[in-house]
Structures are given as C-alpha cells and as structure tokens.
Amino acid sequence: MVINMSILNINAYELVEDISNGSISAEDFTARILERISKYDKRINAYITLNNNALDIAREIDKEVKSNNGKIRSKILLGVPIAIKDNISTKGIRTTCASKVLEDYIPVYDATVVSRIKAHGAIIIGKTNMDEFGMGSSTEFSAFGVTRNPWDTTRVAGGSSGGSAAALAASEAVLALGSDTGGSVRCPASFCSVLALKPTYGLLSRYGLISYANSLECVGLMARSARDLALLLTATAGYDKYDDTSININNNDYYSNLDNINSFNGMKAAVIKDIVDNCNDEVKKAFYDSLDILKDLGFMIEEIHLESVKYALPAYYVIAMAEASSNLARYDGIRYGYTMQPDGIAWNTFYSMVRSMFGDEVKKRIMLGTYILSSGYYGKYYMKAQIARALVRDELLRVFKDYSIIAIPTMPIPPFKIGERIDDPLKLYTVDMCTILANLAGIPALSIPCAIHNGLPIGLQLMAKHLDEQLLLCIAHAFESIRYVKRCVD
C-alpha cells in the first residue's frame, strides 16, 4: 500500500467506509497515525498518554471485517482513530486532567461517551493535553507542558481542549473528544482550523467527564468536517441512566439528513453587535466575509443588541469558580491520585500538602470559588451570577423565537503568542467573551473554520436553540461546500 501522508487527513466517514469494505486495513492506518505521532508530536505536544492497545484493537477490527459478519454495519465509527481529552475517564488508560494530582491515576471505568464510541468500533489512540482540570483557554496551564499550535508553533493551540484540536490539525487523529465549559472545544477548534460542536447541555452524558463546573460543561466533539461531527454526535448522543441531568432522547441520526435542508431561504440569522464590535479587525473582516456566505445560502442577516451580554463573562466565571472549588475538593490523596505516607501527619497538613500539587491557576480559581461561596458572600456573587445567567438565557431564548441561528466569531482574536496572556488573569478570561453565552444558556454551538489570515486560523461560530444540532450541522455542511478552509497542516 502506498504510504501517502495525505491519507491521514481523511474524513472519518470515508475511513469507515473504506475499512468496512476492506480497502483500507485498520491496523495499517492506526500504525500510520502512531508513526505520525512519534515523528511529529514532540513539536506540538498534543498527547499526554498513548494507548498501548491501539494496534491490537485495530487488528481485531480487521479480523471482524474479514469474517464478514453483519455486526460491523451498525458500527459507524469502525476503525477510526480518536483522540480523547485527558479529563474523560478511560478504563485502564491513565487519565490525568493534565494535573500532578492525578499524574498516575488509572480509572477503573469508562465514561459513557467512551463506551459508546468503543461500541461503534472507534480506536482510542491516546489522551490529549489540556489546561489543568479544564481551567484555561490556551493549554498553557498544563503540568505536562504547553501544546503548540501546529499552524505556528510559537502560538497557543487554544484551550482547554488544545491537545485534541492540535492532534486533528496535525493529522495525529481523525476524530477527537474534548470538553466545553466556556468554549473549551470551540476556542482551540477556531485556533487550529478544525470544527467543534458544543452540544445542548444534557444531550451527551457527563458520566466520566471529570468535573470542573458541572452546571456549565459538556463533552465536546471535534472533527475536520461537518459530516464527521454528525457521525460522532450520532454515536455519542442520547439518554444515559448514569447521568441524572441527561435528557431523555434516543436514537437520533444526525448524519443521514445533512443534505436535506438544501436552502435556508427565509431563515434569519442574528448577529450580536455588542460582541462583534469587541473583536479585533482581522476577525471582524473574516466574520463579515462569512456572513456573505450565509447570505448566499439564503439567510437574512440582522444585527441585534443584547442587554445582558455585559454580565455574561463575570457571571460565567463566578459560577465556574464556585463550582470548581467544590468539584475539586475530593482530590486529597486518600482514595486515589498523588499522595504521601499518612503516618504521623495531621490531616489538615496532609490535605494541604497533597493539594499543593495543583497548578497556580487551579489554586487561584479554587480559592476564588471558596471566597464566592463563603458566608456572607453568597448573595453578592453566586446568587447574582445565577440571576444574570437566567437573564442571558431568557434573552437568548427570546432571540430564537425570531431567528433560527445566532452568528458571531468564535474568538475575538487570532491565536496569540505563547506566554502573551498568562500573567494577567483578566486578559486571558476575556478571550472567552464569545463562547460563554452558549454554556450559560445550555444551547448548542458550533465553530467552523472560516478563514486563514496571515497563516492563522479564524473560526465562525453558530448557535441555535436547545436540541437544534441538526440545523447547525446542516449549515456547517453547506458552508464548507462553498468555503472550504484547510484543516490540516502539512
């Protein structure tokens, strides 16, 4: 078989077909991916851990294909190498959340999304780098080093799912799972020129997603085409009895109907002026160009103003930090994770010593969260933030009564230089201004590459009302047939 680098850039849906009909060997393809990683990953540091069993699983898949049993027809991710963000629990494969505190933690169970993709025949290639516990927007806050943007290795890959995005852009995986609390799949997708979907809160099970801010976060999906995203969503979506916040929805097929909505004539798209105005000029230009494409597809574009937008970012961080301070309390070294001999040490000292292994950003957010929830401050911060959140949500839902989608840039800036924003917390937090709206409201949001300017990727973000993923995927599919922006670096 001819070794062609470009074959690594294949779409998942094409790969599944080729593996299912025997024209590509899963084992060969996986071996190519692993070879690519071994040669290239030191440049970008996308992976923390590789799966030792990947080739064995691939081999089994080839056997299954040869045996020609009917089962493989139902496996829609057959043989697809997939990268999984390291805050998603994978049985038997080290899961660190990019933290020293979980440096050698090996889970005894699979997250539900992991069981589902495995059942569909996907091959877990490895666990990808991230900001520690999901706290960050650049993958600079990792105990395992920074992940560099494959498009320009002096710049960040975005975060917190930077490793997953970089792996896709560098042909080190075909699909990827991430998580999205305030933009954590959309941001790196925008910076690395790949696609990402943050689904409706509750559509994908959170069982096995290691919590940072549990009322805001979802498992996020990443791919190099809209059809691939749709495939991945179909494989992972649906009710899970191991997650009480899971929505009671089953058996949705998101990829068979991608071409159905051929024309979006008559649909209206809203543009939030308050947000676009705060983006930098390159981003604005790319964004308005994209709006032209939406118009070509049949959309009517209108600018709107949202009152509650100015409260969105502070509300988001108040809620996220408060929840983080509680969700990360369990890391005390007693039942798992980094620890020390307890003999003779007083318990408060023991806890403090173990938890000193958190990185600075995590420590700050935990302490801020502790402050926000502490006696006397609950009404001032947390309660007000929840009300602000309700205002944002209500306002967005009102928008969707008149508009099918909201379109804004994914990020207000192109990928920035490593180290540029790390010393000023607010400078870093404000890059989330476009993405947090969807998390506050629980609505689905998709980022699609819309331009590469001066070699740096820029993403377009589309949001829709609850459970309207199909619409977003159809638009993305139509968009990329008109404007296809390069996904992979060479």
Binding site: Y311, Y317, R335, K364, M367, Y371, G379, M383, A390
Partner: protein, 91 residues
C-alpha cells in the same frame, strides 16, 4: 474591600491548599483584580429573574435496585491496611 494576604491565607486554609510565602502576594493581587471585575454583578437586582434549574419528575429517577460492583476500588488507593484505607490522624 480588597483581598489581602491574610484573607488569602484564610481561603487557602478553607480550601486545604498550601501556598508558599513567595507566591502569596501575587495571588492576592491577581485574585483581588478578579473580584473587582465581578463587582459589576452588583447592578443586578435579585428580583430581575429566577435562576433557571433543570427539573424532572420523581418518576424519572433511579429505581431502588441493588447492583453489586465487582471492581476492587482499593486497586487505585495507595495507602491500604487490611482492606481499610489509611488516612492521616484526625486529632
């Protein structure tokens, strides 16, 4: 009220996190800046909206069925004595 070093030390204790003395000042500065930023929420009136919560009917929750877990949870604990987990002393 600015977030001073003493307050940070207290928060560090509440959260059982130890910070070395060299870093405390920087932490206090950063954290204070962030809290300042949050104060915009003061403009919000408690009566403006009801916090949204997901809700479900009681029937949608888990039935009272016992399932035995066969995985040994002690596998991932490092300090174990005769099947008890060894923790530091309380007093």
């Amino acid at each position: 009220m600015p977030l001073d070093v003493d307050k940070v030390k207290h928060l560090a204790y509440l959260a059982r996190i130890s910070i070395d003395d060299e870093s405390i000042d920087l932490y206090a500065k950063h954290m204070d800046k962030v809290i300042e930023y949050f104060n915009i929420l003061d403009e919000i009136n408690s009566a403006d909206a009801e916090p949204y919560r997901i809700s479900k009917h009681i029937e949608e929750f888990r039935d009272d069925i016992c399932i035995i877990n066969n995985e040994d949870m002690l596998r991932i604990a490092k300090n174990v004595k005769e099947r008890f987990i060894k923790a530091p002393r309380i007093v």
